[in-house]
Symmetry: C2
Subunit: 200 residues, 2 copies
DNA sequence: AATACGGTATGACGATTGTCATGCGCCGGT
DNA sequence: ACCGGCGCATGACAATCGTCATACCGTATT
C-alpha cells in the first residue's frame, strides 16, 4: 500500500485526483492539503511514502516543500505535478531530488502508473521536458531578479528605487543589465522571458 | 440520466472530473474534449443534456462555445468551469445564457450538485463572483484593446504601429487613452488591469 | 441641415526608460 | 600583496513612452 499526501490549491483538482487515486487498491490518500504549509504539517503527522505536489500555491511553494522534504524526511519520495513547463522549475525540482515531474497536461490514466514508478525509486519526467532540462542557467543576479519582478508589475523605476532603497539610476541600470542578459528589447519582454524560464 | 460532454484542455483534470462524475448513477459522461473545436463536434454528434467547459482552451474558447451553443442547440445547458474570476468573463458567459459559472477553486464534492441544479434549469454562480458580475463595463475601443494586447507582450510602439499600419504617435495616443480610462500609470499596469477584468 | 458625439488619426513636447562609462568593495587565484 | 572578475551602485545622455491639442469622419439627435 502506497500512502500519499496530496498538495494542490485548486480544490476541484485536489478532490478529483484524490478520488481517482483512491480507486486503486495499492494506493491510499492519507492527506489532502490546499497549500504548502498545510502539506508540511500533514507530512509531519502522517509520514507518507510519497508526496504529490503542485508548484504554485499560497504560502510555501511546491519547490520549497521539496527542498524542505529532502532535509526533513529524505526517505519520502516526491512527485511534482504542475501546469508549467518551465525549465528553471524542473531544474530546481531535480536539484531538490524529486522523483518525478509531470504536467497537468498528462492524461489522467498515466498518473497512478507514475506514482508506482516513483515509489519504486524510478525517476519520471514529463517527456516534453526531458530534453530542455539542462538548457539555460539563470544569468540574473538577485538584485536583477528583484527589480525585474517589480518592473513586471508595472511599477516605475522611481517607485522601485524607493521600495528597494536604491537610486532611480541604479534601478535603471539593473533593468538594463537584465534586458541585455536576456536578449530582450525592454523590461516587459525581459520579465516575460525570465518568468517563462521559471527564474522569478 | 444526465448526459454530459466535458471540454477541458488540462488532460489530467479532464480525466479526473470525468471519473468523478461517472461515479454518480444519474450522470453519464458521453464525450471528453481537449479543445473547443473537439467539443463542438462531440456536441453535434451526441446532443448531450449539458456541457461543462473550461474557458481558455486552444482554438475555440469556452465563451465562444457557449455563444455558439445558444444558437445551435438552445435546449442544451452549459456550465462554465474556469480558473479565472474575471468579471468580464462572467458577464460574457451570462450574456450567452450559460446555466452556471464555477471556479476550479470549488471543492470537488460540489460539482455533481451543481450539475444537477443547472440541468434542472437553475442558475449556479460561484459565490465569489455573484457580486462583482455587473460592475465595470469594458470602456476600451477595439483599437485600444488591440494596441494594449500587443503592448502587453513587450512590443514597442513603433513595432505595434507597423503591425497595425498606424503611425507611432497614434499608437502612443491609443495607449495613453487606455491608460487613462483604466486609471493606470503606464502600459504594463493598464494591460494587467484589462486582462484581469477579462477584457482582452 | 445643423449640431453633438465618439472613434480614428497625427505630431509636438515633456516624462520616463534604456544605455553606457565609471567607481567601489569583496572574493579567489597567483 | 597583487590582480582580475563580479556584483553593487550611480549619474549623464540618448531613446522611447505618455500627454495633450488638434483634426477628420461617420452617425445619431434635434
Amino acid at each position: 500500500m502506497i500512502r500519499i499526501v496530496l498538495a494542490e490549491d485548486q480544490k476541484l483538482l485536489l478532490g478529483a485526483i484524490g478520488a481517482l487515486l483512491d480507486l486503486d487498491d495499492d494506493i491510499e490518500v492519507v492527506g489532502r492539503a490546499g497549500s504548502g504549509d498545510e502539506a508540511r504539517e500533514l507530512i509531519e503527522s502522517q509520514s507518507p511514502d510519497l508526496v504529490i505536489s503542485d508548484i504554485e500555491m499560497p504560502g510555501m511553494t511546491g519547490l520549497e516543500l521539496a527542498e524542505w522534504l529532502a532535509q526533513a524526511q529524505p526517505g519520502t519520495r516526491m512527485l511534482i505535478l504542475t501546469t508549467f513547463a518551465r525549465p528553471g522549475y524542473l531544474r530546481r525540482a531535480l536539484e531538490a531530488g524529486v522523483g518525478g515531474y509531470l504536467l497537468k497536461e498528462t492524461p489522467a490514466d498515466k498518473l497512478a502508473d507514475a506514482v508506482r514508478r516513483v515509489h519504486r525509486g524510478e525517476r519520471v519526467i514529463a517527456p516534453e521536458l526531458a530534453l530542455t532540462a539542462f538548457d539555460a542557467r539563470d544569468p540574473l543576479t538577485e538584485r536583477e531578479r528583484q527589480v525585474l519582478r517589480l518592473a513586471g508589475e508595472g511599477i516605475s523605476n522611481a517607485a522601485i528605487g524607493r521600495r528597494l532603497h536604491l537610486a532611480e539610476g541604479t534601478v535603471r541600470n539593473y533593468l538594463s543589465e537584465a534586458i541585455g542578459k536576456l536578449n530582450a528589447d525592454n523590461r516587459i519582454e525581459a520579465f516575460r522571458i525570465a518568468r517563462d524560464q521559471g527564474w522569478l
